[in-house]
Amino acid sequence: MSAQETTFGKAITAGLRAALAEDEKVVLMGEDIGTLGGVFRITDGLMQEFGPDRVVDTPLAESGIMGTAVGLAYRGYRPVVEIQFDGFVYPSFDQIVSQVAKTYYRTRGAVPMPVTIRIPFGGGIGSPEHHSESPEAYFVHTAGLRVVSPSTPQEGYDLIRAAIASNDPVVYLEPKRRYHDRGPVDLSAPLRPMGPAAVVAEGTDVTLVAYGPLVKTCLQAADAAAADGISIDVIDLRSLSPVDYGLIEASVRRTGRLVIAHEASRTGGLGAEIAATVTERCFHWLEHAPVRVTGFDIPYPPAKLEHHHVPDLDRILDGVDRALGRPNSLDSIDPFAPPTPLAADGTERG
């Protein structure tokens, strides 16, 4: 174990470098990843090191990138595609959903699709529109894909290597606002599997599940809560699809309370899936309904407003308070008030 301190971004670079070195079938493709080294410099130096045949600047067309990656996989390559920002993945959505995700099934296993799709995602860096999205739910709902998101430099390194080594297509979501975070990274770590989640802070009162950029915020929340005498079990998912439910269940059986945090919009987000599944599997242990702390059901807002949208420490703690039945923002709402179905004329009685 020879861990060295480095940034999250550089840890991913190191993982890419290792993958390029280990397997000549690994090819990186994307816009501006070659000469420039990517707009976030994640591929910095790799074209120089491995040549423009291994690290390929592509024309400006995401469907083209994804579709040619599929063709390269047909030829036995392991393409690693960079999507420049989260909001630019949609032009390639068809190739992802109908080709990358389904070719292995379509060919009954004759043609694997070991395509890794790297997407810097999430907000918090003051970017313009389309540069701060959290599209993970679309991919989690798509059978045939795996979805992972690291939360630390070490995970960044481990998971990119595991994603590239996997014979399944993997959407690898990089928490872009953590690129400059530093942490120890063991470059000689053995290839670890993508699946297992991790308890990153131990606690007994409530289970707090997050992934990617919000893991750090949740750890801060756990610290802050500890000062208030609340003990939070923080779980870092790492793999968003499939989810390591066993670990969450084990925690929830102890705490009886679950909070899930993500930046993506609430409705149909991963939080819903985790809440539903944990409720199914731990109904008898739950003392309170799972609580979701998420982005709102709005387009990602302009940068000056993003601090409202992206869950922060306070909103997460408010969620924890709700799960624990402590004083919280929704106390004035009577949970026993009669529900208000929409009137037949569409007006809202509420």
């Binding site: 040619t68 990656a69 063709g71 390269l72 030829r75 390559y77 190739q95 109908s98 060919t107 009954r108």
Partner: protein, 391 residues
Amino acid sequence: MGTVSLNTPPTGMPHVPEPDLHQVLTPEGHRRPDHDLDPWLEDVTATMLAGLHRDMTVIRRLDTECTHLQRQGELALWPPLLGQEASQVGSAAALQREDYVFPSYRENGVAYLRGVDPLGLVRLWRGSTYAGWNPAETNLAAQQIIIGAQSLHAVGYAMGLRRDHSEAAAISYFGDGATSQGDVNEAMVFAASYHVPVVFFCQNNHWAISEPVTLQAKRHIADRPWGFGIPAMRVDGNDVLAVLAATRRALERARNGGGPTFIEAVTYRMGPHTTADDPTRYRSKDEVEAWRAKDPIDRVEAHLAATLTGSDRDARGGALTIEAVREASAAAADEMAAALRTGLAGLVDPGPEALFEHVYAEPHHELARQREHYRLYLAQFDGEQLEAGTR
């Protein structure tokens, strides 16, 4: 909205000569000289023509059989290729084993020539499987239903070929309608940018379901690739020799580092779009009849009838007469059809285990759980069972 004729290019439009329609065999079976294509047809013999005749005949029978099988409820659907035999046979005949083919749903003739068992096509089109063949064995990608998507796959494959310093080429088949899709245009951008060994083979069969090609393209389709930096050729798609020659030429260019080529094979879909379609709703009988006169098999027959000297010999040394050609082709078609019908009886529908197989290449605990739950569910009934699996 009416449309203004684009025949006279407005000012500012570069005056480009329309690509000729290259034709080598006229509908009447006359051989025409073609400066560009003739060099690629020097090895054509009567025996070879007889072989192309046979392939087209077998494929037409395959198509007819499958159309019947659909009517009989054996297939869920079938997309006839009637009329497009020359385009499919001529192009596929030019391919080598190591070339890789990215077809749409209509290239069932091409599939046959790549060695796909007709029963595989039947299993595919009856809905037993999405895998009518094994791409790894046939160098034929899975059929593509998403219009145009495969054009990018071919380019990506060709990027790999180029990296591997392979002498093989990739070829992508798509229709006239597909040229409107972003993917096909992006495929041309990537192919030109990386200068890869790929052939874009567009069968312009004049219709995309009910939409005429004129809705998709205001100029000939073969006019478009040039602007992407890709040479193109417009050939009579009902002329098996023209198609063969054009494809050979394009493949040769690909193998020699000449980059991508685009071929527009001008042909006609004589049948419905699929067996679910009713083409009388959108096109005239006259149009169809006019194309019947350009039948791809008839013209080879007419040519052979006119040119067989009596001294030609078939592969086994027998006399190669036009009757012998017809008989041999019919016999091959009968044989294929008989095998198909026999095989049909033995087809077994897939069991529920196929549902969960090959979704992932590696273990997936949540899907394994769903599979196990479904096994337990099915176990309550008498019928189909799902085996208990390790995952």
